[in-house]
Symmetry: C2
Subunit: 344 residues, 2 copies
């Protein structure tokens, strides 16, 4: 009694009955099948609109084995880089009639595994994933590849996955140009606050860092290289350690902007002149870097470019239904760019 009368959704059979046609014809008409008369199509479309008909995606998906839904697993939706990428992906896929189920792993590997199970149950047509920092074994994604579901990894990606598409920023180059920029602006004692080496991201950026250092025959101070979770607090702690000694760095490369901001705030508090005594460069071009004083030099990763590329390759492999297996063994690399501001 609580509910008045719930309006029942009309089905294809209601249209069929109203027009004295078979459900098969209605289905074909709605899907613009070539073997249906124009007039019939128009009649069906008109009646569908009149009855407020809406296709039942579950019934349709069950029969046709297509959900028009794509799963996305991401560490956290509110991280700037990811938010931008997701926005682009969402808007892109929407144009092609695909829905996006967005899931957050909260950077927990267990959660990531569970999410693959859930998305498998949802029978997503494809999967997009930016993995956890701790994901070194990627076998929980195999289930998708095995039944022919395209998988695209971006940002944090497997190193030797042959069967999935891999889209990543040019992290080696990012590390290299960031460090080179510090050197070119006169730094001789360069520190590096980096993330855990379990992730390709920080492996590559670190390699780029070292390459630039070696190329200019500068020494590497082991005590000034940190591999840690890139939080505000950790960066502060690293700064404290480095600046309690006699010899202090004159340049700092951090693998994200949060760490750069923390470092800058530390310097501000301790009266360390930036960029006079210490030059700082971050990574990602988070909006905060352009707003803080002094504005922080950083590396742009072009999240919208990443998003666009993901949509492009995905739509492609969904259309051709050609599994990506054979073709895409080479990762797609999105270029990076130095954004010079006031901290260097």
């Amino acid at each position: 009694m609580a509910n008045p009368k719930k309006v029942q959704q009309n089905t294809i059979l209601d249209i069929a009955e109203a027009l004295k046609l078979s459900p098969a014809t209605i289905s074909r008409a709605l899907n613009d099948h070539p073997h249906v008369k124009e007039k019939t199509k128009n009649d069906v479309l008109k009646m569908a609109a009149q009855l407020g008909y809406r296709r039942n995606n579950m019934a349709s998906g069950l029969r046709s084995n297509k959900t028009h839904t794509i799963g996305l697993i991401v560490p956290r939706i509110s991280m700037f880089f990811h938010a931008e990428v997701i926005t682009t992906i969402q808007n892109g896929l929407q144009k092609y009639g695909y829905n996006l189920i967005i899931c957050q792993s909260n950077d927990s590997l267990d959660m990531e595994k569970e999410l693959t199970e859930i998305l498998l149950s949802s029978r997503v047509d494809a999967l997009i994933a930016a993995c956890t920092l701790g994901t070194t074994d990627f076998s929980h994604f195999d289930k998708f590849l095995q039944n022919g579901t395209p998988v695209v990894f971006y940002d944090r990606v497997p190193l030797n996955e042959q069967k999935a598409t891999i889209i990543k920023g040019d992290d080696f180059r990012g590390g290299y140009i960031a460090t080179s920029h510090l050197i070119e602006t006169g730094c001789k004692k360069i520190a590096h606050i980096s993330g855990p080496l379990t992730s390709n991201l920080y492996q590559d950026r670190s390699a780029g860092f070292l390459k630039a250092i070696e190329q200019h025959k500068l020494p590497v101070n082991e005590n000034w290289v940190f591999h840690q979770e890139l939080t505000h607090a950790n960066a502060r702690e690293a700064m404290r350690k480095m600046f309690e000694g006699d010899v202090v760095p004159d340049g700092l490369f951090t693998d994200n902007d949060t760490s750069a901001i923390a470092a800058l705030e530390f310097a501000r508090e301790k009266g360390i002149d930036v960029p006079g005594e210490l030059k700082i460069i971050g990574y990602s071009n988070d909006p905060r870097t352009s707003i803080i004083t002094p504005a922080i030099t950083t590396i742009e990763q072009f999240p919208d470019e990443v998003g666009r590329k993901i949509v492009e390759t995905l739509i492609n492999s969904l259309k051709n239904n050609t599994n990506i297996i054979d073709e895409r063994t080479v990762p797609i690399t999105i270029p990076v760019q130095l954004i010079r501001r006031m901290t260097t």
Copy 2:
């Protein structure tokens, strides 16, 4: 030939066959139905795991008329407030076994309407929506309410929707305490950069603003009240207009933080001392406000609280399957808080 062999997903029938049981029993066992022997349940669960069985959500949903999927329509996922709310909702719903289909209207009313159609086709179990600034007619949401699908509006909400749950910040109070704070810190000539009055958000904040002004018997200068899209550029333009005259404001209340930042930057460029000559207060507690110099006073909206409340009421009405129609005609209000920083 291109694809090796795609692995076929096992179904309930495969389990049934393996165990010499009927599919009905398998289904019941998997759903923890009370009328199944413990031993049988264990056997089924074990065999399901062994065969790598994953329920087909489409088949399940088609039959049971439950998708365990909830739709979310939001202007833009990358806006700070929404990103936070969504993160909380996502994590909350995940715990109860619900997926979230997130859609962006890009603040376009047409897109919003289209998205309701799509989510209707997906037969979502419930809908959460933060509407477009231009949404004054909410009838495209009626379809959900008519077939008993719970709808929760938050942030930008309909004014007189009797049948849906409404969760909103205390915008009147926000406008009131922001303005009062400016007055208390000595402002006499207060400007207000607000959003379009089509939205309850800005109606309420404006009302709060006026209430405070009247209460202190201050005059309202019509030329210092703006109702416009709250972009960086628009705020700059408003500042330009106000500061080209002889009489200039000594206090500014902006309805979002982007405008406050734009205003602060303008002041900085023109050599207007903040907070000496001009005090500024924003809205939302965007992370940028705490990082800019001087840090901007603003109003905290507690996005996680909003998200939690949404999940709570939603799970409740999904569980009871009692449509919200009768009970929830009163909007739920989330309190706001003044965050005092350096611009006042």
